[in-house]
Structure formats: C-alpha cells, structure tokens
C-alpha cells in the first residue's frame, strides 16, 4: 500500500498505479481476502489524480475484469455487464485464455438479462458447462436446468456463479409457459389466451417436476407479479388469463425485477 501512495504522488509513475492495483487484486482473490479490494478500488475511482483513460489498455482490461467479477458476486448485473463487456471488447483477441476467463463470468450475467450465447462461442472457448443451461433456457426445460446445476454444482460454487445461475429458473418457467401458449394458439387461436392451471401442472409432471397445484398457482402469481407474464389468475376457475398483447414480455437487458 505504501508503493501505492508513492505512485499516486509522482507524476510519471502514476501510470503504474493500475498495474499495481491489478496485482493486488490477484493476490486478494488468491488469498480469499476479497473484501480488501474495496479500499483499493476506492483509491482508484475517487482520487482525482488518476485519469482512467491514461492507463495502458492491458491494465484497464484486467482492472475491469476483476471489478466486474466483484459485481457478479454482489449480483449487480448491469454494472457487471458493463465492466466485463468492456474487458471483453478491449481484450487482445489472441489471448484465448483471457477471453475464456472473462466469458466465464460474463455469460451468467448475460443470461440473467436474457441474452443467450451462441453454441459456437461456448464450444470455441471450452465453456461447455453452460451448454445445458443455455439449452434449458431456450426450451423452457426445468428438468434440464436443475440437472445442469446439479452436475456442475462444485464447479459453479467454486467460481461463485452458482447463485446467479439458480436464479434463471424464473426465466425458464416463462419460456415454458410461452411454449404452452404457442401450442394452444396453434390448436385454437381464439382460446389461446386462457391457460388452464391443469395444463401447466401436466406439463410440469411430464418434466418430472414434483409440484402440487398450490405451488404452480404460486409460481403463476410470482411470474405475473414480476412482469414475466402479463395477465391475471382466476382462482375459482383455475385459469390464467393472458393479456392479448405481449403476454410474455422480454427482459430487454434488465434483470428480472425483485
């Protein structure tokens, strides 16, 4: 930290400050004392003597990578998206290992705001642990999501993205409902906007999800409440009445609101 103070003072040496910061980040992450990053970040971001753009690109990318990771751990997805995306865009295209590291954290963030990666991306950078999850989101396949989380549980817990991925469940539900809606629309467009609870229960049973009617009702209410489904629920007739316009709003780059 003393070196830091020295760097802050002398003009020409200031440029090295970010490099030093990144080294500190690496150390803190390895030691597990991540909370110590906070004071370092404060020095960089609040001190007027540092102009972020002055620093060498390589250091800026590393800095954004680590601060982006911190945002992921704190579940600030918009900030995480911004920082990790910056790192990705400005990263040397040759350094595949680095790109992989950035993507490892960027993908869960993007998934949380409704953006899915293409399969070739996952294959190219060997991030196949995410394949099933992406697939589950595309298909509305709850069983696959849970299975994927279980299969890679240790890995996801160690990297710290497990809780982020777990939250994707609501989006998978939305996708499932949408599929049911699409099928109903094909069968009988005039009645498509009414979805019987029984049908949803049946679909979930087919996916081997052990849920009783009350729980399914609860999920429906939550989806409506969080604006993943537009409509209302008629309790007596056990029917979800969907809005005729845009019943399944897209996330549009925002995480599911709480």
């Amino acid at each position: 930290m003393k070196v830091f103070g020295v760097l802050a003072g002398k003009g020409s040496k200031r440029v090295g400050a970010l490099y030093l910061t990144c080294q500190l980040f690496k150390i803190y992450f390895k030691l597990g004392t991540v909370h110590l990053c906070r004071s370092v970040i404060r020095s960089i971001e609040t001190a007027r003597i540092f102009d972020f753009e002055e620093f060498p690109k390589r250091d800026k990318v590393t800095y954004m990578y680590y601060t982006g990771r911190l945002e992921v751990f704190n579940e600030n997805f918009p900030a995480a998206d911004q920082k990790l995306s910056y790192a990705l865009i400005n990263c040397n295209p040759q350094s595949e290992a680095n790109i992989r590291m950035i993507l490892k954290y960027l993908i869960p963030v993007k998934l949380s705001i409704g953006i899915l990666p293409k399969d070739w991306l996952l294959e190219k950078y060997n991030l196949v642990e995410y394949s099933n999850i992406v697939q589950a989101l595309r298909r509305g396949d709850l069983r696959l999501l849970r299975h994927a989380l279980e299969e890679h549980e240790d890995q996801f817990l160690r990297s710290g993205v497990y809780l982020v991925l777990e939250k994707l469940e609501l989006q998978v539900y939305q996708r499932l409902f949408k599929k049911i809606y699409i099928i109903q629309k094909q069968k009988d467009p005039s009645k498509a906007h009414q979805m019987k609870l029984d049908v949803i229960v049946k679909a979930l049973k087919w996916l081997e999800m052990d849920m009783d009617v009350d729980e399914v009702e609860c999920i429906v209410a939550i989806l409506i409440h969080k604006n993943l489904v537009k409509g209302y629920f008629a309790h007596k007739s056990k029917v979800v009445v969907l809005s005729k316009q845009d019943p399944f709003p897209k996330l549009n780059g925002k995480p599911v609101n709480s």
């Binding site: 030691l31 597990g32 909370h35 809780l163 609501l170 939550i222 409506i224 409440h225 629920f233």
Partner: protein, 404 residues
Amino acid sequence: MERRHHSQSHSQRQQGRNHFSSSSSNQSRSNNRFSFPKSSSSSSSANDVRDRRRETQEEKQEEAIVGTCPFMCPEAERLQRQRLRDLAVFERLHGDPRNSSPALAVKKFCRTMSAKEVRASDVRPLPVLEETLNYLLSLLDSTEHPFEVIHDFVFDRTRSVRQDLIMQNIVNDKAINMFEKIVKFHVISHHKLRSSCSSSSISPLHYLNLEQLTKALTSLYNLYEANWSSKPIHEKEAEFRSFYVLLHLDSNGQPVGESLSLWFRHVPSPIIKSKEMWFARQALRYFQMGNYRRFLSTVAAEASYLQYCIIEPYIDEVRSLALCCIHNCYYKLHPYPLGHLSKVLMMEESDVELFCNAYGLQTCIDELGNKLLPTKQTTFCRPKGGLQNYSFLGFQQLGRQIEL
C-alpha cells in the same frame, strides 16, 4: 507455514501450555476471510489482530497469555465494582448493591486499551471459563426478571468470555463447544428480542445482539477451520454454517461481510451436502425466486428451532409478498377464500384476517358463511407500524426450549 492466532498480550512469566492449532495452512481455506464489517468501535483489538498474518521473528517468540484467575470475576475488579456500586442485579448478594461474592460476580467486558496492560491474574483459564459460561446460560431460565434484563447481562458477560478465550489463543474442541453455545444464545435472543419489540424499527438491543451474533459466528467458523486437520467434521458445524446463509437471504439488503457467492466458494464439500445446509440453500432459492408457497412449507417442515429463529423476519416478508401477489394478480371477481389463504400463509385463519387488515384490506363473507378476501382493493398499503406476531402453522412442535 504455521498459522498463528497472534495475540497482542504476552506474559513474561507464564510459559504454560498453549494450544497452537495444527493448522491446515497449506490450503488457502485456512485464512481469515470472513470479515463482517468492523463496526469498528465494538470490535475488541484481539479480534482485529486475528485477521492479520504477520510472521516476524519477534512474534514467533511471543506466546499467548495464560490466565490464572480462579474466579468468574477477578478479585480486584469485584472489589472495585463493589466499591463503586457497579453491580448488576444478578451479582448482588441478597440484593445489596454494594456487596457481591465470588459465586455471583462475573467479569465484565472491557475493551483492552493495550494488550501489555493485561495481567494473567485478570484472565480466566479454560476450566473457569467453561464454568462461567454454564452459569451464565443457566440464568436464561430465570423467571424473576424480564428477558431484556437477563439478556443484557448474559450478553455482556459472554462477550468477556469470548475475549478471554481469544486472548489466550484457545482454539480446541472446548472452545468450539463454548462458541457454539454462545452463538445459540444470541440466536435465541434474536428471536425473543424481536417478539418483544413492538415498533417496526429494530430496537438497539436487537441490533447489537445481531452484531455480536455475527462476530461470534465468524470466530466459530475460524475455529472450525483451525481444527480442520485434527477433526474434519464437528457434529453441529453444518447447522452453524447454515446460519450464515440464513442471515443473508436478502441479497438486496445491506451486504454484511462477504457476499454469499464468495462465501460458498470455500465451504467444505461435506458441509454443502449436509441436510442443514441443503435446507438453507433451498430456503435461499425459494426466497430469492419469490416462491412463497414452498418457502413457508419447507420452513415449517424442515427448519430446526435455531434456524427458525434466524429466518423468522423473512417469514413475514414472504407472507407480505404472498399477499401482495394474490392481491394484485388475482381476478377481481373471484374473491380469495381465507381458508385457503391461511394454508398458503401458514397462519391461523383468525390471524389471517388481522394480517389483511394490517395491509388495509377488508374481508367479506359469502352466502355460505365463508370468509373471503376480495382482490385488487384500492386500500392496499404497507402496514405503518411493525407487524404483530402471528402464528406459524406446523411449527408448534419446535416451541420447546432448547437446551444450551
């Protein structure tokens, strides 16, 4: 590289047995990375010191102090407090505020200004600390005084016990046992103090208790890790680890210490797979998803008494969410039967009505005499004061007092 709990206090005379932990320092897990924020004024200097890992030559020669005080309270302190009439209700001999005895006086918590000033005669050795703790916890059964008074006393005196343990660098099984008991005390107080506070603002006692709960929990986790190589799994470790998860269900609240994602990274695998941790993770998942149905029913079915004490504030929050959802998302022309609402909220029907009223909602009765809640009422609002305590169905069997 041996990991040491560096203590500032050192005694020139005492060279007694010291329990340096056979540490698992080869793995990065053994570091003190749980830093609940040092709401710094209340953290004793000994606690801060444990976080640092300096390994200078002079420190290798320092050894932790070994206490010699044979009483629950050092004699000098007792005599001084008798003189100054600074005796708690429990310390008074026959109610006399000027008189105490070795059987009644218990050492008060005091921030050590400088470790060099600490004398071995003021520090209680392990056996005395064990006796002291047992005595303190036995006071919790007393019915003579209001709970707040008992809590206040035990709160302060157990803090001193913790301080003595840390100062002497006692990190063995017995220390773990004692810290577990102390955490239990704080958890139950967390529950009891909440019941007694009527306003929505958290009472200072409640807040301070939570603060010490987290500190004691941190120390406990460090002890588990320090003992990892000698005894990998402690009987109650899974449950006590689950408390951290349950204390952090609300990720949108003020982050206290490490975020859960970071914390999970270094929880040992057998703990993660344990029944208690599984429950905590499920509760977390349901809470964050908003699955009120599963959250409430799982808590009722699987929470231990201590887990319930911690999760209790969230139960109201989830019920609130449930009411909000049902009220806003259900069809206006189909009022919701209270009987069913009672099942969803896991509350007695009579309480359900009060609950609805607290949110500015009126109930009505249909022609068969069933009570109903019409949805989408315009009078829906957040309750202004705090909520009263409501029943929690399916939970009566856990109402028994836990043995500490």
